[in-house]
Symmetry: C2
Subunit: 216 residues, 2 copies
């Protein structure tokens, strides 16, 4: 079959892996199967992920946890960052997230917006959800989330340690809600997508109300 210029890239590999995971579950993802899907020998993957499957898992986790513009593959934290630039869509190479138009909506609206988007992202890649249990990828979007949370919760009237505690609570609730939904989704009396979303909003509203010092 001669030489195969498959045009492999980290992104193509991650996307294909996610596709396999969606279809056959996390346990159904093998390097050999992934190679087949990419029309490449399994060993070719190791050129892009030299540390093997574990590194691929980290990359998948970072991708899933980053509600970044589609097509953007975050770099992992745990490895040498001595590669060439690799920037694809010029989304800020100065280390800071590009300044966007100031969001002037109330803090709870901004937080609710973020929470819904985060939930949607996790739900979209729910097959890879368990990868996130032992991995907290250190992505730019994670940093942006931190900032957003901090601003919103300060605005809500929190200060000192309470800000970070509240941010943790919101974060915890979001991933917990998705885990809870995924856990029970194949059961008899499992709620449909609409009701699941309503429950998410209900709990989120309650949490934000309880978090706010002046009673919501």
């Amino acid at each position: 079959m001669s030489r195969n210029y498959a045009g492999l890239s980290r992104e193509r590999i991650i996307l294909e892996a996610l596709h396999i995971i969606a279809g056959r579950g996390l346990g159904g993802l093998s390097m050999r199967r992934l190679g087949d899907a990419l029309e490449v020998e399994a060993m070719a993957i190791y050129h892009h992920f030299p540390l093997g499957k574990e590194q691929l898992f980290n990359a998948i986790a970072a991708y899933v946890a980053s509600p970044a513009p589609s097509g953007t593959v975050p770099t992992e934290p745990g490895e040498e960052a001595d590669e060439e630039a690799d920037e694809e869509s010029g989304e800020g190479t100065d280390g800071r997230v590009r300044e966007e138009a100031e969001d002037t909506r109330p803090w709870d609206v901004r937080l609710t917006d973020w929470a819904r988007a985060y939930r949607a992202r996790l739900l979209e890649f729910s097959g890879a959800l368990s990868l996130l249990v032992h991995r907290a990828p250190h992505t730019p979007s994670a940093e942006a989330t931190r900032a957003l949370m901090h601003r919103a919760l300060s605005e809500a009237g929190l200060s000192g340690d309470d800000v970070e505690r509240a941010a943790d609570a919101v974060h915890s609730y979001c991933v917990g809600a998705v885990v809870h939904q995924v856990r029970h989704q194949d059961e008899e009396g499992a709620p449909g997508a609409a009701e699941a979303e309503a429950r998410f909003d209900f709990g989120l509203r309650a949490l934000l109300r309880g978090l706010s010092p002046h009673g919501g």
Copy 2:
């Protein structure tokens, strides 16, 4: 080596599996390694879990998710229940959990108590946490939790669909908080055990306050 009366049992297998998971992670658990630890050929395990590793995983998940008295191994839901009795400590064979002394403390205290115990259990077996993402074991203790939640939240003033929604929110928060802690526990500025517990309580208090119709 002649005959080996290893005295294998589902419980011994589960406990040993949990031990391996604690030491080497979920990926480090193999049937062969588990067999070694039990001083038995790996294939012997299949006599107690005929459906293989997947069934073992289900059993582990059920064990972890059930804050039952130590030594009680719940039976799985997805398989034929035609085995002989197997009851070990007579904790109610009539299908109902044994009636305990009525807990007369306020609803939020009862809920907080439950949440802390649940959190502690998940934290104790955090290596197996990802097994719970796609598994919701249908154990007696899960049923008991449902009842406890329902009573407490009704007492809090909730009614109708809100009761179940609130119960979901509390449940979600608990597993989410543990996942969040486990995810970040190997990071630089990770909070210690005491601070992690304080954060958990902080978020839980806020959630319960926000859930309660009359403002906590």
